[in-house]
Amino acid sequence: MNEFKVTIDTFDGPLDLMLHLIKEKQLDLMNLDMNVLTDQYIAYLNQMENLHLEIASEYLSELATLIEYKSKKMLPGKHEDLDDSYEEDPKDRLVKRLLEYQQFKEASEDLNALYESRQLQLSRPLSDEVDQWMKEDESLPYEGNPYDLMRAMKRVMMRMRLSVPQESTYTVKEVSMEDRELKVRAMLDKLPKTFRFENLLEDVHDMPMFIATFLSVLDLARQHTLAFTVDENDVIWFTRGGNAE
């Protein structure tokens, strides 16, 4: 009853699988034997099914194209249908797609090499002290989308990880968001009208506390106690009073 099911991502889609089959069976892409490709493709999907692997719908839709082509070819006297149609021959179309996909697959390998070498070079975050010089902008426009916020949060987390000394002992501590919210409210009184998310993190040294703080400000924003915005440097700014209507 409870069959073991996994999804694998060995191939990045049906085109990737076809390219693999073509290479493996040493088929000539410029003179593609659709019969062999279709048989191999079906065999592979069957194998996946036998292993109880989930087959993504994209594979099935390409399979339908392959089978349609094969069946049309097999029908006697219907060949001219393929030639007469205004549409591009499905085989040519498939070959074209495979070639184009192959191009980008190769290009992505070049990109990967560049990415990996870039990963070996590290930079340091913006000087902390610069924060103190920064002008406070009282008028915070509310714009941006959740992804801006996600990206900005990632940055705050990274800075926190860099600035906090590594602790080697672990203690289990329950952090409740409600408690944290009370604390944050208390902190608000001491902060200027407009402040940065980092200002709320001065007593935060671990991830649960950090998350509780983030949830609290989200809740405060929901209650219109605070409004936030993310500027072009991915800094999260809060302003008190919010944009209450």
Partner: protein
Amino acid sequence: MNEDMNTIENNLPQIEANETVEAHEEKNVQLSMDPSIQEEEEAKLAQKENDVKLKAILEGLLFLVGDDGLTVEQASKSMDISTKKAEQLFDALQKDYVDDSRGFEIERYGSRYRFLSKAFVHEAAKKLFSIDKISKLSNAALETLAIIAYKQPITRVEIEEIRGVGADVMIRKLEARGLIKEEGRSDAPGRPFLYSVTDEFMDAFKLLSLDELPDLPEFNKDNNDDLFHS
């Protein structure tokens, strides 16, 4: 810092003054060549000193901005110099760090210059910070990025046609990582979003501009064999 800026400003007119004196003397004098040459030398020297100072300020700014990086425009604005001058200074400063006796260097990817530790530092840094893995991009992510970089601006459907798989989730992931952005809408039915790569993409792939991307491999009958039987 303000003080420094003032002294530089003061230096500039001084140089001009030197130059006019020099020109004046050249007209006037057949007496001896020595004074004018000397003036010229002095002017050159002053210019050099000034440049050294400006370069040092630029270095300081780069140090402060960290991974935020500094654009030519930002440098020219904050130092009251022309963008051309700023570019020259960046160039000169960059050269100072090229030598392998330095552990970090100045790189410009996209529009921003920043200090980066050199690749050969990574081995030791890994031990110091117990970095156990390097962030990797999946094949699917790399392929999607390659398609966008070469074909931008491009719609989601166009990406899906090339890869033969849905790109919805991947686009949102790449957008959240800041590697791609929405840039206007296509005129196609439904006016779908167009996507293009960001400055952060340039940084992640060590590119100054998209022109630096290697040419897409051309495929035809002749080189087909190499591709599939290599």
